[in-house]
Symmetry: C2
Subunit: 198 residues, 2 copies
């Protein structure tokens, strides 16, 4: 009696579902990422998602890993370009801030905190750690660099959540936080440079 649709490979099916979940997260927030909504976006049923991900929290974990790779990949690429002289410090800042804002990392983190799904945070932390390894690849990985990275990520996350409302209330430009982060990171990079020469 059922009208089964075209069969996809498990990988393809999971990939479409995760992309749809990411879009839903960015557009409408974590609460809108339900099995029914995600399934509807890719023309499937919620039972189908349960088949592929096992449970709703399984989908959450998979989405966290998916988003982390995507986000950190973009940022790592920008850092590489900067190191080779092709990009600017501002590029790193913008990409990091965009990752949390437009790419949904901030919304995801809120969701994980809300649902108390701590396991799902692991892939994000791992991805950021890998990102730091990338930055310090030139054999230069010290305490201060880790601190500056922490500051950059914290400000990016905070800005994604309340930047718009708060900067407006304080009569500041929307990109004030990015400007500050750029100045800070610029100083940090100069410092690293000097230490590297010494």
């Amino acid at each position: 009696m059922s009208i089964a649709k075209r069969r996809l490979s498990p990988e393809a099916s999971r990939g479409m579902a995760l992309a749809a979940a990411r879009d839903l997260l960015i557009e409408s927030g974590p609460q809108s990422v339900t099995l029914k909504a995600v399934a509807g976006r890719i023309g499937r049923t919620h039972a189908n998602l349960l088949h592929h991900f096992g449970s709703a929290s399984g989908l959450q974990k998979a989405l966290a890993a998916y988003l982390s790779d995507e986000v950190c990949g973009v940022i790592a690429q920008a850092i590489m370009k900067t190191r080779s002289g092709e990009g600017t410090v501002r590029d790193i800042v913008d990409l990091t801030f965009d990752a949390f804002d437009k790419q949904g990392a901030a919304a995801l983190w809120s969701w994980m905190m809300l649902t108390g799904n701590e396991d799902a945070l692991d892939p994000i932390v791992d991805a950021i750690h890998a990102l730091v390894d990338d930055i310090g690849e030139g054999g230069h990985e010290d305490h201060e660099m880790h601190e500056d990275t922490l500051a950059l990520v914290l400000m990016a996350l905070g800005d994604a959540l309340i930047g718009e409302r708060l900067s407006g209330s304080l009569d500041l430009a929307r990109n004030s936080a990015r400007d500050m982060a750029e100045r800070q990171l610029g100083h940090a990079l100069e410092r690293w440079q000097q230490e590297h020469e010494a």
Copy 2:
């Protein structure tokens, strides 16, 4: 057939409910702040909360206003002490960070973002704005001070959400973000001082 409990004034009832909601928010996250859970904490029924707050989102808004006043009141007090020489810069930083972490402001903001209840954010923004007015009360309210305030709040929010996980992953002390904020705010205060004298 009903065993009606002792009648409280609407104000007392609302106050107990809001305190219980705050505790629940801090202990178990936004998702645990339901009508049933809050009512259970104060020995009432969920219908009673609907009677006092009109709806679930009415409770959310009331909680936002309640938390904002509480949090910003504490911070404003610390700033006053610092201005009069009784407190340190570190006190301001610690109180701000605690407000978002231990007092639940970060969880509240995540909740508002999650539920898309933008109206509920108004009292928080207003409270922070009032806080800035307090800081600049000595007739000293300029662009840079607003920027430094923004940076402090953003880092406090980010640290409350991911500070523990991230600092651990980067082999940093849990209070690294607070140390950085303290240094930044210290420099800013010195700068204000110099400009004030000039």
